[in-house]
Every structure is written in structure tokens, then in C-alpha cells.
């Protein structure tokens, strides 16, 4: 274990690049929190950061799964309202869809920021490393997809807010599939591999995993 976990009182935090230290979640330019066991150089500034708790986090609970509420719910509901609006001929719903899409797009960038920090502290083991890599890659891609869809939707809405091209509905279908895959991968990291849960963090710190 190159970055062996130690009890929180012995830990210190440094900021570094995840790529240098570990093979998982290697995102160019993404700065993450990494721990070092023995830190001979005193770094008074880093002591300002909260120490890692029994979830291996500098804060109480994982924040990423909370922020993704606003990506998942808004991305799915925007497609649902588009579908109902088209089938039931209720163009008023297109406006509701537009705003939900805007919220999903804004939220995904916040989700990525917290996702990267928490992924850097996740210490994935076994197949979880691969799942985390894929989850990160799809997460960044989803940000691009949502941004493009929002821009496209802005143009559609500017021209005629009461009409929605079938092509946009199709793109919405693809968005839902992508979100579903991404949610499944995130679910596996928590519900199968238990990353950031107390028992797994304990086991990793004890060198059992």
C-alpha cells in the first residue's frame, strides 16, 4: 500500500496530484487531497485543513452523493417532462424542462469537484479501482454532454419555446441511459465496495484490504 492509511491523529494532509501517487482515478490536472504517513517537513498551512475522520474524509460525510441528487433528479425529470410535454401537447412543460436541465448542468460541475476530492481519498481496492476510473471518465463526459444539450436547448427555446424537435427527445433518451450507467457505477462503489464507509476504512487502515 503506497499510501498506507494511519489513524487520524497520525495523519497529515498534503495537496498533490493523484496521478503521481496512485494508479486510480488519474485525471490530468486534477488536484486531490492525498495523505502521507511520515511527513518530516512541518507544513503549518496544511494543519488548517480538517484532519481525516473515520470515513477517511476531511468533512463529516461524503458530499458527492448529496450533490448528485441535483444532477440525477434534474436530468431524468427534464427528459420525462419533455416526453409528457410532447405526447400530451403541453408546451408549458418545456419551460420546466429547460430550467431543470440548466440546474443539472450547473450541479454536475460541483459534483465533479467533490467527486474528485473524495475519489482521491477513497482508497479503492480490487475491481473498485477500475469502476472508479470509469465513473470518473463518464462523469467528466456527462458534464460535456449536459453542457452541449443545454446550449442546444437554449437555441431551441430562443427560436420557439413551444416546439421541441424529435432529435432533442432522442438525445434526452441517450442522456438518461448515460445517467443510469453512471448511477450504477457510483452505486457499486458505495453499496458493493463500501468506499468511505467506516468498516472498510478501518479494514484498510489495519492493512486487511
Amino acid at each position: 500500500m503506497p499510501l498506507g492509511l494511519s489513524p487520524p491523529d497520525q495523519q497529515s494532509l498534503i495537496l498533490g496530484r493523484a496521478c503521481v501517487a496512485k494508479d486510480h482515478n488519474c485525471m490530468p490536472g486534477a488536484f486531490l487531497f492525498l495523505k502521507v504517513e511520515a511527513n518530516p517537513v512541518p507544513r503549518p498551512m496544511f494543519e488548517l485543513l480538517p484532519p481525516l475522520n473515520d470515513h477517511n474524509l476531511p468533512w463529516m460525510d461524503t458530499i458527492h452523493p448529496i450533490v448528485v441528487h441535483f444532477v440525477i433528479a434534474m436530468a431524468v425529470i427534464t427528459v420525462l417532462f419533455d416526453l409528457i410535454g410532447s405526447l400530451a401537447r403541453r408546451p408549458g412543460l418545456f419551460e420546466v424542462s429547460f430550467w431543470n436541465l440548466l440546474v443539472a448542468t450547473a450541479a454536475i460541475f460541483v459534483a465533479i469537484i467533490f467527486g474528485q476530492v473524495e475519489a482521491g481519498l477513497a482508497e479503492p481496492y480490487g475491481a473498485a479501482s477500475e469502476i472508479l476510473n470509469l465513473h470518473s471518465t463518464i462523469g467528466w463526459s456527462l458534464a460535456g454532454v449536459l453542457a452541449v444539450l443545454t446550449a442546444w436547448r437554449y437555441v431551441i427555446r430562443s427560436k420557439d419555446p413551444t416546439r421541441l424537435p424529435v432529435a432533442f427527445l432522442g438525445a434526452g433518451g441517450l442522456l438518461v441511459v448515460l445517467v443510469a450507467v453512471q448511477v450504477t457505477l457510483g452505486n457499486q462503489l458505495i453499496w458493493t465496495y463500501g468506499l468511505h464507509t467506516v468498516p472498510v476504512v478501518e479494514a484498510i487502515r489495519a492493512g486487511l484490504v
Binding site: M60, W191, T197
Partner: protein
């Protein structure tokens, strides 16, 4: 030889409760499927509720933010913002019945790790009780607020620009806090008590994760 307390032999003859029978045939996470459903429906309940109230708030404060939207060249109507507030809340109320139902099913099958106290000092049974009762209470409040919101939209404030009462928005903001606490209890059931988490349950059963979860 039947006495007041059943003998060990008699206890063997007693049928298991339906939940015990079900739980015995399930996977290491204690569920008949790999990933729990309740936490995924929670995304919709919380996301839709928070955005519904936020957009109604934006609609209520519309005169203040009009210039910002104009500066951003983003065409917007007050009624459009209130539409988001109404339809998102309606969707939230509908899906939350399933959130609570899935939560109860998965709580009946929960096997919290014994001897654990949460970071706020509660045991697993207390945490589950608060989370279970709180979930039903929140569902009731969401449904009541949806009815309230409907009356404001279609009757009381139909002809007014600001479609919601300040008291409605305040109730929504209070519920943000309640949902935040409630969600923390739910998160602790997973991340601290290991409920329905395969790795945590395997560790509690003494398995080696290097072999059990390669």
C-alpha cells in the same frame, strides 16, 4: 412438556417470520438484488423538493432578480419559474411514496453491525426508528405542501404574479433543514452501521475482502 418458556427443542419447531425466511436466501448485502433501491429514489425526492422550493423562491423574488436575467440575456418569465416550483413538487410527491415504500422494505431486511454508535451518538435501532418515522412524516408534509401549493396555484393566488405565500416558502426552507438531518441519519445507517453494504457485511462476518471482493 409445554411450559411458560419454550424449550430449545420447541423453538426449532417454531416457524421463522416471513422476513427471516426471505433474508436467509438473500445475498451478502441482505437484499434479493445487488444494489439498494431506496437511496436511489432519495435522489429524486430531495432533488425535486429542493429545486421546487428554490424556483418558487426565485419566482417570489422575481422583481429583484429581473435585471440579472436581463444582463445574462436569458429570457425568463415569473410564471415559468413558478411552473418549475409546481411541477417539480408534484413529481416529488408522486415519487416519494415509492421512496418510503422501498425504504421500509429495505429497513425490514436491514442487519446493522452490532455494537456501533453513530457519530452523533445514536445506536442502530434508534437511528432506524427516527429515520423510519421521520420518512413517513416527511412524506406527509410533502403531500400536504403539494395540496397547499395546488390551492395557491389554481385558486387563492391564481391571478397574482407571486404564486406562493411567504409562509409556504418558509415551511419549505424549514423542511430543507429537517431533510438534511434526516438524510444524515440515512447516510449513517449505510456508512457507519453498514446496512446493505456488501463489503461492510462481509467484514462483519469475518470474511477476507481480498478473496470475497476481488
Amino acid at each position: 412438556m409445554v411450559t411458560g418458556t419454550p424449550s430449545p427443542h420447541l423453538a426449532l419447531l417454531l416457524a421463522e417470520s416471513p422476513i427471516e425466511q426471505l433474508a436467509r436466501s438473500y445475498g451478502p448485502n441482505g437484499l434479493p438484488y445487488a444494489l439498494p433501491i431506496h437511496p436511489n429514489l432519495v435522489h429524486f425526492t430531495i432533488g425535486l423538493f429542493v429545486i421546487a422550493i428554490t424556483f418558487d423562491l426565485a419566482g417570489a423574488l422575481f422583481p429583484l432578480e429581473k435585471r440579472i436575467f436581463r444582463f445574462l440575456q436569458l429570457p425568463v418569465t415569473r410564471a415559468g419559474l413558478h411552473d418549475v416550483g409546481w411541477f417539480n413538487l408534484l413529481a416529488c410527491a408522486a415519487i416519494t411514496f415509492f421512496t418510503v415504500a422501498a425504504g421500509f422494505y429495505e429497513m425490514l431486511l436491514a442487519r446493522p453491525i452490532s455494537g456501533v454508535r453513530s457519530s452523533i451518538g445514536l445506536g442502530s435501532a434508534t437511528t432506524m426508528l427516527w429515520h423510519g418515522v421521520g420518512g413517513v412524516a416527511i412524506l406527509l408534509v410533502i403531500v400536504a405542501m403539494t395540496v397547499w401549493r395546488g390551492y395557491q396555484r389554481f385558486s387563492w393566488r391564481r391571478d397574482l404574479g407571486r404564486q406562493v405565500q411567504w409562509s409556504y416558502l418558509l415551511t419549505g426552507l424549514v423542511l430543507f433543514g429537517v431533510i438534511g438531518l434526516h438524510g444524515t441519519l440515512g447516510a449513517e445507517l449505510a456508512a457507519e452501521f453498514g446496512v446493505h453494504i456488501t463489503a461492510d457485511q462481509l467484514l462483519a462476518a469475518g470474511a477476507n475482502l481480498r478473496e470475497a471482493l476481488p
